[in-house]
């Protein structure tokens, strides 16, 4: 087996990280110049991948069926709006962190039922967060700064006095935040924190007998998960939507994140990125096929229906044949390569993806 170079990280992981960083920092900005790619694909991809990591922590790692990621995202987004509005001294990064913490507080509150109920019942209980947070924002005008239009324009992003308003700049903001939080999530997932989460997921009674506190571990997972969702929500509103409206964070978005989590692979960090990319790119791909292969002969509404059908089908297929999702599928493909072409070690590492 691979020897860890840097604690739990193998040489391969470090190479993967380097490849990903070069791709995202150098290659993408050099070769992709169309704004569409940044505003409609890359930025939402990073934001939703971040939220999916949050969902992974609570569902994939700790095994608590929670459904309400979008609620926490809304909490983060509106907290961000109010912080920039009312406490401008905090700055963008400071506001982002505090927004995450506010979302985490909600996470703790709505994570408490996990101590008493589990499985599908917990899912219903956590659904409360989704509805409660959206209702709260709608009900009390203060959160929206008494704006009557219903849609508030997000403030411009200013970091250290410099505006980040172009799509490319916003992409870099999202990239930086996502990279830092992904690394932190990986450190936790691979360290003792992650082992506690997984122990609770796989066999809670044994975990407790080893001295893992169920209360602390579950609440911690909910809090961290909500923090990630909160930060993701703030980025989603400020970099992608550029506006704030509670409707954007409805239950559909929660389900979308849940699908990303499951399709990507439960209990994997890279699965969050794969799942988010798939769910975002798939409709784009279908549209392209509709336009280029059938030359618009198929109605756009039909295409979007087909999209739903295929998603549903894929979910079922994955649940039956590969419950660990696309990340696992990718691992299996790599394994097969390894056994087929044992000599091409260089090729493999250059093809490697962030794990």
């Amino acid at each position: 087996m691979m020897k860890p170079v840097f604690m739990t990280y193998t040489k391969k992981d470090l190479i993967n990280l380097a490849v990903c960083m070069v791709l995202s920092v150098l290659v993408i900005p050099t070769f992709i110049t169309t704004e569409y790619w940044y505003t409609s694909i890359l930025i939402p991809w990073l934001c939703l991948a971040l939220a999916t990591i949050g969902q992974q922590i609570v569902m994939g790692y700790t095994g608590q069926l929670a459904l309400g990621a979008a609620g926490f995202m809304a909490a983060g987004a509106f907290a961000m709006f109010n912080l920039i509005l009312r406490v401008p001294d905090l700055g963008f990064v400071g506001s982002l962190i505090v927004s995450g913490l506010i979302a985490a507080a909600f996470g703790i509150l709505f994570g408490l039922p996990s101590l008493k109920v589990r499985g599908i019942y917990l899912m219903v209980a956590t659904l409360a967060s989704q509805f409660f947070i959206i209702w709260m924002i709608d009900k009390f005008g203060w959160f929206k700064n008494y704006d009557s239009s219903g849609i508030i324009t997000a403030q411009d992003i200013v970091i250290l006095g410099k505006p980040f308003t172009t799509p490319l700049a916003m992409y870099f903001v999202c990239l930086a935040v996502t990279t830092v939080l992904t690394l932190l999530a990986m450190n936790m997932a691979r360290g003792s924190t992650g082992r506690n989460w997984m122990a609770v997921r796989d066999m809670d009674i044994a975990a407790e007998s080893m001295g893992v506190s169920l209360l602390r571990t579950k609440v911690q997972a909910f809090a961290i998960s909500a923090f990630y969702c909160g930060v993701a929500g703030a980025l989603f509103a400020f970099c992608y939507l550029k506006s704030l409206e509670p409707v954007a964070f409805d239950i559909k978005l929660s389900f979308k994140i849940l699908f990303m989590c499951i399709l990507g692979g439960l209990g994997t960090i890279n699965g969050a990125f794969i799942g988010a990319a798939f769910i975002l790119l798939f409709p784009v791909l279908l549209n392209a096929i509709g336009n280029n292969v059938f030359h618009g002969a198929i109605d756009a509404t039909i295409i979007s229906s087909i999209e739903q059908v295929i998603f549903g089908g894929l979910m079922i297929i994955f649940m039956i044949y590969e419950p660990l999702g696309m990340a696992k599928l990718w691992e299996n493909i790599k394994q097969k390569w390894k056994t087929k072409i044992p000599s091409s070690t260089n090729l493999k590492s250059s093809l490697g993806k962030k794990t």
């Binding site: 604690m7 450190n187 003792s192 082992r195 122990a199 997921r201 796989d202 080893m210 911690q220």
Partner: protein, 264 residues
């Protein structure tokens, strides 16, 4: 045993007094008392449904007995929970295996090091030097246990993929990793073949001998029980019907009746 023991059997470390446990109308354990001495290998035997596993679950805090007390290290434990007992230095394995199936063997054993992990999640997230130091110590200890149990070749395999006998070994390893002073083993040799059983006995005796860990085990194989344990307590229908050295228990008429049946 003829060989001089490094850790002499000492005072009672674990005392169970007048425990009664019932599930609704079903009485699992009735007014049961026994003790476990420091550094000894203590066996609990009895026919199926005698309340052996329930007894371990009471000691470990998974079940809360309606009556009676559990004293550990000279202290009576009032609000007993698995977590509290783990912190006080009591670890266990489970009858039907309670491993973390999707985690590797090494990770399973590392979870056993939980109580020796003091760093919080933020420190882990930022990989502070003290986290690395602690992780290194925990990994070294886990590797030691892995090589002690002779399972080096499977340490990166997810536990769920391992055969039953190996899983039992991993579970023992996880309990050992806690460095507890008492380990409860619930049927550590169930479903094993003769060779695997011999291995398991060797490990249990070696741990007891080298680390002085007190072992409390439930076992059905009489040969094994009589060979490795210092004292045996026999339960039947939730009551103690015999308690003493293997020889005493073997010649106890009540025990013979319980196992072979009596004419009515």
């Amino acid at each position: 045993m003829a060989i001089e023991r490094k850790f002499k059997i000492g005072k009672p470390i674990l005392e169970v007094k007048n425990i009664s446990l019932s599930f609704g109308g079903v009485k699992a354990i009735t007014d049961t008392s026994f003790d476990v001495l420091e550094h000894e290998v203590r066996a609990i035997i009895g026919p199926n449904g005698a309340g052996k596993s329930s007894m371990l679950n009471c000691i470990n805090g998974i079940y809360k007995p309606q009556e009676g007390t559990v004293s550990f290290k000279g202290k009576e434990i009032p609000n007993i929970t698995p977590n509290l007992m783990a912190q006080m230095g009591l670890s266990r394995t489970f009858q039907n295996l309670a491993l973390f199936k999707r985690m590797s063997v090494l990770d399973n054993i590392l979870v056993g090091r939980k109580l020796h992990t003091k760093t919080n999640f933020l420190e882990v997230a930022f990989q502070l030097p003290k986290v690395k130091k602690e992780e290194k110590i925990n990994r070294e200890r886990s590797e030691e246990i892995i090589s002690f149990l002779e399972i080096e070749d499977i340490k990166d395999t997810p536990v769920g993929k391992l055969p039953y006998g190996l899983q039992k070994k991993v579970e023992l390893g996880r309990a050992l990793a806690t460095d507890s002073s008492v380990i409860l083993l619930d049927e550590p040799m169930a479903g094993m073949n003769v060779e695997e059983k011999r291995d398991m006995c060797r490990f249990i005796l070696k741990v007891n001998d080298e680390l002085g860990t007190t072992m409390v085990l439930i076992e059905h194989d009489m040969g094994v029980v009589m060979d490795i344990s210092d004292r045996v307590v026999v339960l039947d229908y939730g009551k103690v019907i015999g308690d003493g050295t293997p020889d005493e228990v073997r010649s106890n008429q009540k025990v013979i009746d319980a196992y072979l049946g009596v004419e009515h």
